[in-house]
Symmetry: none
Subunit: 140 residues, 2 copies
DNA sequence: AGAAATTTGTCCGTATGTATC
DNA sequence: AGATACATACGGACAAATTTC
C-alpha cells in the first residue's frame, strides 16, 4: 500500500483527534488513554504512527507516558490559569537576507542568515508571529 | 539479531556522540551534519534509529533540520550572562504579508499587517533583529 | 527549464526488550 | 509467572523539498 499523506500527515490528524477528546473532556484529566494497540486498531494506523501522534501530545504536555503503565491525559494543570491555550510553535531555518537585514548585519544581500520563527496562538487563532534573525557563528 | 539495549539505548549513544562533535567544534556551528544515510552507515544503525538520535538533539535545540536540505549544527548562540552593552531600537510600520504570514493569519497575500522591528546591538555590532507581526485591531 | 540525484518526512510490518499489573 | 503496555530497533517503500547537473 502506498503512503499518501496529502496535506496533513496521519499522525497529526490522530494527535488532533486525541487532543480534542482530552480538551473536550471525553477523556478526563488523569485518565488513561486507550493503549497504543487499541489506538492502532481504532485509527487503522501502524503502531509507529500512533506513537508519533502521542509524541506530539507529549511535547505539548497534553499527556504524559509511563513505561508499562500507559499514557495519561492532562496530568497536571498549568499553574497560570491565564495560559488558556498559549501554544507556541518554533521553527528555524536559513533565509536570504533582504536589503534591510543585509545592511544591519553588514553582509551581502542574499546571504544566508538564521531565522527563528515563533508562532503564538490563543484559542486557536494566531496572535503574533515573531521572527528573530541572527548571523551564523558570531563572535563575542 | 536481537535488539538488546542494556542500559543506554543506541539512539541515545548516537545522540551523545553527535552532541560531543558539535560542542567540541568538530562540527562547527552552522555546518551540516552528515546525512541520515551516511550516519546509518557510520553507526551501523537503521535510519529510524539515526532519526531518533537527531530528534533528541533537535529537541535540545542543538541542531535544526530542514526538509530536503539537511540538519545544521547549533544554529544559535547560548545567551551569555554578560549583557554588557545592549541597545535596542524599535521601528513600526505596515508591510505586505508574504505567503507564510498570510497563511498564518488567514489573510490574503499582500494584505497589510503590522511589523514591529527591534534591533539589538552590542558593542556597536548588530546582535539580532526581531520582527513581530500582528494584525490590525479588527476583531476578537 | 527540466530531469536526476540527494535528503528529509511519513508510514508500514515485524521482532524483541523492559516495566508494570 | 503470565498478561499487558510501552520502548527500542530493523528494513522497506513512497512522498516531498532541495540541490545539482
Amino acid at each position: 500500500m502506498p503512503t499518501p499523506h496529502y496535506g496533513q500527515p496521519r499522525y497529526r490528524a490522530i494527535a488532533d483527534e486525541l487532543r480534542e477528546r482530552i480538551t473536550s473532556g471525553a477523556i478526563p484529566p488523569g485518565a488513561l488513554l486507550p493503549s497504543e494497540s487499541a489506538l492502532t486498531v481504532e485509527f487503522e494506523a501502524s503502531r509507529g504512527t500512533v506513537r508519533q501522534a502521542i509524541a506530539v501530545l507529549r511535547e505539548e504536555q497534553v499527556v504524559a507516558t509511563e513505561h508499562g503503565r500507559g499514557t495519561y491525559a492532562n496530568p497536571y494543570r498549568r499553574e497560570g490559569a491565564s495560559n488558556a491555550d498559549a501554544e507556541s510553535e518554533t521553527r528555524q531555518r536559513r533565509v536570504a537576507a533582504d536589503a534591510d537585514l543585509a545592511a544591519l548585519f553588514t553582509v551581502e544581500v542574499g546571504s544566508l542568515i538564521i531565522e527563528e520563527q515563533r508562532v503564538t496562538r490563543r484559542n486557536g487563532t494566531v496572535r503574533a508571529v515573531v521572527r528573530t534573525y541572527r548571523r551564523h557563528q558570531s563572535d563575542e
